[in-house]
């Protein structure tokens, strides 16, 4: 690969964006390189994370689940307990603070399930910034509660009607909006995807998840876990869960993709299990696409995993065999959603339920002295109505 190209993870990553945006991402990279080592910036961010978002999040021993499954000891990393109900706040507080230091007064964001949109609207409210969130029209219906929540927080929500009217179209529209208005606007990208430096910035802000898991695990068990797992759409909570374990080869890293109705159907969003190498949304990575490179209309019951690509660092971890990526169907995820609710009294986001489903699959065949950590990336309140509908019960949100 040519040396001018930046932000590569193996062959993946790069900056495949219109020239109009190049100086904006270069400016962002410079600002980030400066502030990431700035003690004042880090003190301010840590204060926000601890006093506003509620970090560190709990590492909870799921004793009932462990006993019920009869295998490995299961811990849950409770990102659902963060303010705004998901891991998204970790990245958003970092980016909003950075944007503010850069003199930006307006945040724009894409959102799938609405969790990133809510987190961005929250940070904007807190920091006195303007906020516009792009959300696929299909998703505004699936996640009506989050749409109202964003409006309540003072954000404008723009339903995106183009393409499949889901997450990928929301990303496209946010990128278009950024090319329209760069001067005062920061694009607060919600996942470890898009052009450099976003995959690196978002990863660094989410790496607090694995930093805490490591510290908490050493304190509770005096050793590292045997496996950590998380759901993967773009992959931000997963990379956050993996990052500080990448150099610990004894720790298996497992990403759980959304298989939708199955990886042998067209109604799937399992990128690493069904996609091929491509270039889209500013990055080279794996994408669900047809033989001519047209991006596939993907499907998952989970609006947050309903994305045809995956972050470039995951694509790289997949290539070198450091992380494993499995596919979990809608049905398996819904069963796990119900299982965790009944067994532990924790209603996980349907996204996170994909990771829970895989733990349910593998824990019984592991030894009782082995430990797995499942990241519960978000809370499931937003999904209750959709799961009821999936089970044939029509309830009002």
């Amino acid at each position: 690969m040519d040396s001018k190209s930046k932000g590569r993870f193996g062959v993946h990553g790069g900056q495949y964006i219109p020239e109009t945006l190049m100086n904006a991402v270069i400016e962002l990279e410079k600002a980030y390189d400066h502030y990431k080592n700035d003690p004042d910036f880090n003190r301010e961010l840590t204060k926000l994370l601890n006093e506003y978002a509620g970090r560190p999040s709990l590492l909870y021993y799921a004793e009932k689940m462990t006993k019920d499954l009869g295998g490995a000891k299961i811990y849950l990393k409770r990102e659902d307990l963060n303010h705004t109900g998901s891991h998204k706040i970790n990245n958003v507080l970092g980016q909003a603070l950075l944007a503010k230091k850069m003199g930006k007064t307006r945040l724009i964001a894409e959102t799938g399930a609405g969790q990133h949109g809510v987190a961005t609207a929250t940070a904007a409210a807190l920091m006195g910034m303007e906020c516009v969130v792009f959300m696929g029209e299909e998703d505004t219906k699936r996640q009506a509660l989050n749409v109202y929540r964003m409006r309540l927080l003072g954000a404008e929500v723009i339903p995106v009607k183009t393409g499949t009217a889901t997450l990928k179209d929301a990303v496209s529209e946010a990128m278009r909006e950024w090319t329209r208005r760069i001067d005062d606007t920061h694009y607060c990208l919600g996942s470890v995807m898009g052009p450099h430096p976003f995959p690196t910035i978002v990863r660094d802000f989410q790496a607090v998840i694995s930093k805490e898991i490591k510290e908490q695990m050493l304190e509770l068990e005096g050793r590292l876990p045997d496996a950590v797992m998380a759901c993967v759409g773009g992959g931000s909570n997963a990379i956050g869960t993996f990052y500080n374990f990448i150099n610990d080869p004894s720790v298996r890293l497992i990403g759980c993709e959304a298989a939708g109705r199955g990886i042998d159907t067209f109604e799937t969003a399992a990128t690493l299990n069904t996609g091929k190498l491509g270039i889209f949304h500013g990055m080279k990575s794996y994408f669900c696409q047809d033989e001519y490179g047209q991006i596939a209309p993907v499907y998952s019951i989970s609006a947050g995993l309903d994305y045809p690509g995956i972050g470039p660092e995951h694509a790289y971890l997949h290539d070198i065999g450091r992380a494993e990526y499995v596919a979990i169907t809608d049905e398996e995820a819904v069963q796990a959603f119900e299982y965790l609710s009944r067994t532990e009294g924790i209603i996980p986001a349907i996204e996170s339920a994909h990771a829970v489903a895989h733990a349910i699959k593998i824990a019984p065949s592991m030894d009782p002295d082995q430990i797995i950590v499942v990241t519960i990336s978000g809370r499931g309140d937003k999904d209750v109505a959709a799961i009821a509908r999936y089970r044939g019960e029509d309830i009002y949100e």
Binding site: M1, D2, K4, S5, K6, G14, Q15, Y16, I17, P18, E19, T20, L21, M22, N23, A24, T162, G163, K168, D169, S172, M175, R176, T179, R180, R181, I182, K276, L277, G278, I279, F280, H281, G282, F287, Q289, E291, Y292, G293, Q294, I295
Partner: protein, 256 residues
């Protein structure tokens, strides 16, 4: 000098755009011939992409119409080959990186040569990423056309000094689409471009009237019009060629 650079020789160039297969390739063929008859100096042929992130609503809709009509990259290559039996004007493809990459960049460029394409424009491949595409184009005699935006500032010299074919100057912030007013100081950008570039430069994005085209061409070497033409095609469908011809004629007249 490439065929593309020659298209600018001695006069201001008018460069219209059309999305291949909107609403079908037969219509696109009639439109391209109408554009040539109306005096177009170079024609941009869009290969539709499912998620064209640099396009405004008008060209996005054309991409949807073309793809739902079943057009593919292979069908477009066959179509261009057929066009070349009588169409002489230089032709450049405008599409997205993934369309070329997924076809196999080398294979794509070789097909371009076989069917008579002169250049490629990829709006999602900036200077930093062009080494993946430009050398293969150069080795095959295809111009890889670079873009300069109102935000390029200190990047202009770097981009212009390596430009091939012509330089595409993006007139305004944002995506493609017509604008009532172009506020960017185009002449200041062109002045900087000319210090480093060995190729001509044309202005595009937002131009919809002959007056705008004339004004943009007056300060550069030509004008590019896309959305205004695609809108006519959206309105008149299979009957669009005659309307496009009149429109392109009004533009080429304004540039004389």
């Amino acid at each position: 000098m490439s065929r593309i650079s020659q298209a600018f020789a001695g006069h201001k160039a008018f460069i219209p755009f059309v999305t291949c297969g909107d609403p079908d390739l037969e219509t696109t063929g009639r439109i391209v011939r109408a554009m040539e008859e109306a005096g177009a100096d170079l024609i941009e042929l869009g290969i539709p992409f499912s998620d064209p992130t640099a396009e405004g609503p008008v060209i996005q809709a054309a991409n949807v119409r073309a793809l739902s009509g079943g057009v593919t990259t292979d069908k477009i290559f066959e179509f261009v080959k057929d066009l070349r039996s009588d169409v002489k004007v230089p032709l450049v493809f405008m599409t997205y990186a993934n369309v070329v990459f997924s076809y196999g960049t080398e294979r794509f460029v070789k097909r371009c040569v076989e069917v008579g394409i002169d250049g490629i424009i990829l709006p999602d491949v900036p200077f930093e990423e062009k080494e993946e595409f430009a050398p293969i184009c150069r080795a095959n005699g295809i111009d890889f056309i670079s873009l300069i935006a109102p935000t390029s500032e200190d990047r202009i010299a770097m981009i212009a000094s390596e430009a091939e074919g012509f330089l595409y100057i993006v007139s305004s912030l944002g995506v493609t689409g017509t604008r009532s007013e172009i506020k960017t100081d185009i002449s200041a950008i062109v002045e900087q471009v000319r210090k480093s570039a060995k190729v001509p430069c044309a202005v595009g994005f937002g131009i919809s009237t002959p007056e705008q085209a004339a004004r943009m061409a007056a300060v550069s070497d030509g004008a590019i019009v896309g959305s205004a033409i695609v809108r006519i095609i959206g309105e008149h469908g299979r009957e669009a060629a005659t309307y496009v011809k009149d429109f392109v004629k009004s533009m080429t007249d304004a540039l004389k």
